[in-house]
């Protein structure tokens, strides 16, 4: 999957180094249109047996031969989900997390909702209680990863270049570099964007959407896909409510119209309000992740 918008995969960086490309250069099949409109693939050899090692054979068509002007058009049924490749990578990530008892949260919001500050406070509060690693997604700079490392957790920065979201392949590559501990907590801070990250499963246990009270109450209605994809909403910066006209009840009501099962925690990273409930929720998730591997270790079903 191309992980960027508009400029190709070459701009995606993990900790400043180019992302290993899932598609090898030169593997893209290309063809040229001649002036007479006939297609000519290159490299073009007369090796038979269809497409082998990227070599295209014109004799492999339905008619068994190729002659200019004679159409070999046919229909091919595909029925494949556009996001299938991303979902395959996400499934691999998810398998790894569940085998190692890693509780993984994908934190999504618009830019400026206070995700990084919330992460810094969360890491400080869980210091010595849980092993935590962080994957930071931003278009540019490793400022956020530096803030997380200063808070005491290993962090890896993914720069998506022109890209508007993290995808499962990027996260898979980042995981390998992070050396995740068993029974740990992995926090993935997605690119600040309430639209695109909704569609891309990273293999996380839960998506957590953060809405700050300095935004509009109707954001869940304006960006419904993200609120539908999330399991938990953190209503952040609640310490500012006395100074704003923001109707917190209405925001929660709107969010639950989109997603009736959405759990909501009112929180303030600055004042500490709601932090205990958020930390309890994380601790319960971590316990469940560990309990799940212990259950699967019981010799009931033998997995090949």
């Amino acid at each position: 999957m191309c992980t960027t918008c508009g400029c190709g995969i070459g701009q995606t960086l993990i900790a400043g180094h180019a992302l290993k490309q899932p598609r090898k250069p030169g593997e893209v099949m290309r063809y040229r249109v001649h002036e007479d409109g006939a297609a000519l693939a290159y490299p073009h050899t007369h090796q038979h047996g269809g497409v082998l090692d990227g070599v295209l054979d014109f004799g492999a068509g339905a008619a068994g031969t190729h002659a200019p002007g004679i159409s070999q058009s046919r229909m091919v049924k595909i029925e494949r989900d556009i996001l299938a490749k991303n979902n395959d990578y996400a499934a691999e990530n998810r398998d790894y997390f569940s085998m190692h008892g890693i509780f993984t949260l994908n934190l999504v919001s618009s830019p400026g909702s206070g995700k990084t500050t919330l992460l810094v406070k969360t890491i400080a509060a869980l210091h010595g209680v849980l092993q935590i690693a962080v994957i930071e997604g931003d278009q540019q700079t490793d400022n956020d990863a530096a803030r997380i490392r200063a808070a005491g957790a290993p962090a890896l920065q993914i720069n998506t270049g022109k890209g508007c979201h993290l995808d499962a392949y990027m996260v898979g590559q980042a995981m390998q570099q992070l050396h995740l501990q068993d029974h740990s907590l992995l926090l993935i801070e997605n690119v600040g964007n309430l639209v695109c990250p909704a569609s891309f499963d990273l293999g996380e246990t839960h998506k957590v959407v953060i809405l700050s009270v300095t935004e509009g109450e109707d954001k869940p209605l304006k960006y419904p896909d993200m609120f539908r994809a999330a399991d938990l909403m953190l209503l952040n910066k609640c310490d500012l409510l006395p100074y704003l006209e923001f109707d917190a009840g209405l925001a929660v009501d709107y969010a639950r119209r989109i997603n009736p099962k959405l759990k909501v925690i009112r929180i303030s990273a600055s004042s500490g309000e709601g932090m205990a409930e958020w930390l309890d929720w994380i601790a319960m998730g971590c316990r469940n992740a560990v309990a799940a591997i212990q259950r699967s270790a019981e010799p009931k079903v033998l997995l090949e």
């Binding site: 918008c5 058009s73 046919r74 229909m75 595909i78 989900d81 556009i82 639209v195």
Partner: protein, 113 residues
């Protein structure tokens, strides 16, 4: 603008199938896009043309089959067409609507040679 990534994924699916099916040119691509899918169709058309350039689907025609949004009310169990994710049940007014169709994004069929 994740439509660019989606268009790249479509190309990847086309290329992978080309290896198995042995075609060298794609003339038409049919995508099935649900009304509730998180994709902007005009943006996808633009990205499709850009991404397919110089590939085996160069200048391929893009046909989008739109599927209607469908939901079922969790309270009163009636089925209904829905145009957006925040619509209320026309029968009981509940917002607890489960999407049962119209959120798919699929490469359905290709015309190849």
């Amino acid at each position: 603008m994740h439509e660019m990534s989606l268009a790249e994924s479509v190309l990847q699916i086309i290329e992978n199938t080309a290896r198995k099916q042995g075609y060298t040119r794609v003339k038409t691509v049919w995508l099935e896009i649900g009304q509730l899918a998180c994709v902007e169709q005009e943006s996808l058309r633009f990205c499709f043309d850009v991404v397919m350039r110089d590939s085996i689907a160069h200048q391929a025609q893009l046909e989008i089959i739109k599927t209607a949004g469908q939901g079922r009310c969790a309270k009163c169990s009636i089925e209904m067409p829905i145009a957006a994710l925040y619509e209320a049940c026309p029968n009981c007014g509940s917002y607890e609507i489960h999407v049962t169709g119209g959120d798919e994004m699929r490469v359905k069929e290709l015309e190849v040679e």
